[in-house]
Symmetry: C2
Subunit: 96 residues, 2 copies
DNA sequence: TTGACAGGCAAGCGACCACTTGCCTATCAT
DNA sequence: ATGATAGGCAAGTGGTCGCTTGCCTGTCAA
């Protein structure tokens, strides 16, 4: 749960989520070039790789390796916990 | 928009939001003691004060001064932008 | 009025984080 | 086989952030 917010804290990671929302199942290089092209964010390939690691451990994306390609798929279900935590009328939830 | 996620990144600030959800309109000292009592988080008064500053500039809470007391009120409406950004079926939103 | 109480201002410090650099492994085409 | 491509590992660095410490301002009760 804490990983989720930590993952969303970095602007670059939110941009990656946006890029994946535009087109799901991209490789690292595709994400990299798409960030520089459409978002004007010039980051190193390794930087993005580290961001993808954080996003994956937060459950925000899943990966699938195929040959030398590794595809990244967006998963927004963890974001629904935010809604359940503060936006729903329920109360008294604890964080671990 | 970026302030929102930055504000939610710190565990202490999320705990403050939870404390305010339990009882809205608390003062700094009330929040401070409530964190130590119910959440086992022993933070300095100044630390919490700085957190409240961040939360307020993110629009997550509003304050009202009365005499020497300053009451803090929770506001979860900024959180709805998260839903609109990634959970709704809409697409092509930009971040500033 | 003076002491206690609620809060604010500002400097400083340690730790973490985003990012880079350099090198290495694995897969595919020619 | 060998070069190119896609990706991974690990160390290092600068900057920011969370938190503390110390002191000051404003408000109320005695």
């Amino acid at each position: 749960m804490a990983d989720l917010f930590e993952a969303l804290a970095a602007p670059a990671r939110r941009a990656i989520l946006d890029v994946l929302r535009e087109r799901d199942g991209q490789t690292l290089f595709e994400i990299c070039s798409r960030l520089t092209m459409t978002r004007n964010m010039t980051l190193t390939r390794q930087a993005i790789s580290q961001h993808l690691e954080v996003l994956e451990s937060a459950g925000l994306l899943s990966t699938k390796r195929e040959g030398r390609y590794k595809y990244h798929y967006l998963d927004t279900t963890p974001l629904e916990t935010i809604v359940e935590r503060w936006l729903s009328p329920e109360r008294k939830k604890k964080e671990k």
